[in-house]
Amino acid sequence: MTDTMAASSEPLIALRDVTTYFKTPRGLVRAVDGVSFSLERGKTLGIVGESGCGKSVLSKSIMGLLPKRNVVRGGSIKFEGREVGQAGANELRELWGNQMAMVFQDPMTALNPVMRVGNQITESLIHNLDVSKDFAQETALQLLTSVGIPEPSRRLRQYPFELSGGMRQRVMIAIALACGPKLLFADEPTTALDVTVQAQILDLLDAQQAERFMAMILVTHDLGVVAGRADDIMVMYAGQAVEKAPTRTLFAQMRHPYTEALLKSIPKLDQASHTRLDAIGGRPPDLVHPPTGCRFAPRCPYAQDRCLQEAPPLVSHDTPGHEFACWYPVGTPEGAEALAKNQAAGIAATVSGGN
């Protein structure tokens, strides 16, 4: 398997066959099931998929922020060449904040409601960088200014509930940036925000990333969000990567039917966020008992018998750096034939409800 950025000497972070399972009374939920990628400094990777496809779990799993109980993590995660895949909280704490940081999905719940904004920013500075209180205060002020918060000195003394949603997300970005991380996870950073604010926050993340030469992993359900911002895109479905390519390549010649479906379902401005993707019928498979073949097959308009029996591997075909896992890819003669055959047979896009 070649990585998308084979040219680089050593990636900032490299994942190989990362798995994250949850023990539940129903059985083992395979939330992330064998994901590999690598990312260089200064680059952005977009991870795209429906809710529940494992993308948010993946970023929390990489950072090691999942609870220990009932979670089984596997595979290898190398951060700057250092293996951290199985590292516990004590080891990872050195990395948290000043090496990798995360911007959470919902600024309403991710800020401590009973702690002043200023203290929430300065505490990681004081703790991680061992700076004086005054210096931390000064830095926090600069951070708030740089993330575009007006009247920063007044905001420092306020509580989260006194700020608007967009403002809180800016605060969260300031917190994440405080110790100058090399890798920033942005987990659906705009989902909880008003449409008008979404673009501002994404632009802010973009600008900060460029300025600081950070690597960024941008997790979203919206292909439109990553279209202009990510260098590479990984599309996830049911805990697995189904297509991986540089952004330009992906949009020019997408191969996986799921990617195609996602593109068709880019939410319109007037839709509420987190609306079900109308274009894709059916629902994601049960992650306790995933289908034997391709996991998308039950919902795939291209699906053939082979898809239901044999899981396609994630490999690159014609273009180097463009990997996908499909037997009948979109835009190929096989794919076209398969689709035509299904349409002729009148098989609806949803073959099964998922159970």
């Binding site: 009374p25 429906e50 529940g52 779990v57 992650l287």
Partner: protein, 310 residues
């Protein structure tokens, strides 16, 4: 609701689901033991006069040594005798009769009065609610035991001459009044949520009478929430009876032994030399309260689970 979204919370709450599932199983070992103890003590209290035990007033004075030292265990007296030669097993069982009678009576009073007031407050809202809630607040403004104590003191003072109410009835009434506001508040809160439900709306739309809706539609749904609090309240009242006895109000030992007055009496006379006389009723109280709390917890867990799945 989005099905795909539903998977994520399931994953994070894996641990929690497991706990709930465990609780939803039957009573479990501790629950069974609790139920057995309560059944045992309840039945023996109920059937005390017909059990093959001596009367609590029967004094085996010849078995007591001249220094007041009674054997802890002797043939025919499993739990020994007190300084007056009374059989401790008989006293404890007859004590249960009095203590549990007061506890059940008081909680029944609280259930009926509190249930009615709470149901009315939650159902009619507005002025009725404000009046009843203020009433509850007033009674809750005095620490429960102090309120019970003053009520018993005054009521027994007033009943002393007239003999209108026996002391047990007075205890029941006083502790019942104390138990009313908490039970009433639960009933009120529960009624507030249930009266907004579709089936209640439907009954209303069909022109059902207020009282019919209250008692046929809402009451059966409010009762489970009240039941778990009621079970805990029985325990609280059993303890309160003990506390009141220690404060010198309550059933008189020479009239009828109760767990409370046994503890109070023996704590004064026998703690130094015959501590088991004190500990026997204490253990009875402890086991009963423990069992009630345990069952209350189990019911509440089951009830909560039911509510969240609705």
């Amino acid at each position: 609701m989005s099905v795909s979204g539903a998977i994520a919370p399931n994953i994070q709450l894996g641990a929690k689901i497991k706990v709930e599932k465990e609780k939803r199983k039957r009573l479990g070992i501790t629950g069974t033991i609790s139920a057995v103890w309560l059944a045992l003590i309840g039945l023996s209290a109920l059937l005390a006069p017909w059990l093959p035990i001596p009367s609590p007033k029967q004094a085996y004075i010849d078995l007591v040594q001249p220094d007041g030292n009674a054997p802890f265990s002797t043939s025919g007296h499993v739990l020994g005798l007190d300084g007056g030669g009374h059989d401790m097993l008989a006293q404890t069982i007859h004590g249960a009769r009095v203590s549990l009678q007061i506890a059940f009576g008081a909680v029944m009073f609280g259930m009926v009065v509190g249930g009615f007031l709470g149901l009315s407050a939650g159902f009619f809202k507005g002025k009725v609610d404000r009046f009843i809630s203020t009433l509850f607040d007033i009674f809750l403004a005095v620490p429960a035991l102090i309120l019970a104590m003053s009520l018993v003191a005054f009521l027994s003072g007033s009943s002393a001459q007239s003999g209108f109410l026996s002391i047990e009835r007075i205890m029941m009434l006083a502790l019942g009044i104390v138990a009313t506001p908490p039970l009433g508040r639960i009933a009120r809160a529960s009624t507030l949520t249930w009266s907004e439900r579709e089936f209640v709306m439907a009954a209303r739309a069909q022109g059902a009478k207020n009282f019919k809706i209250m008692f046929i539609e809402i009451l059966p749904n409010v009762l489970p929430a009240m039941m778990s609090i009621a079970l805990l309240s029985v325990g609280v009242v059993v303890v309160a009876e003990g506390g009141l006895s220690l404060l010198g109000v309550g059933v008189n030992f020479t009239d009828k032994p109760s767990w409370g007055n046994m503890i109070a009496l023996y704590a004064q006379t026998d703690l130094q030399l015959h501590p088991w006389l004190v500990f026997t009723p204490i253990i009875a109280v402890f086991l009963t309260v423990l069992s009630l709390n345990n069952l209350g917890d189990i019911i509440r867990a089951r009830f909560d689970a039911k509510e969240t799945t609705l």
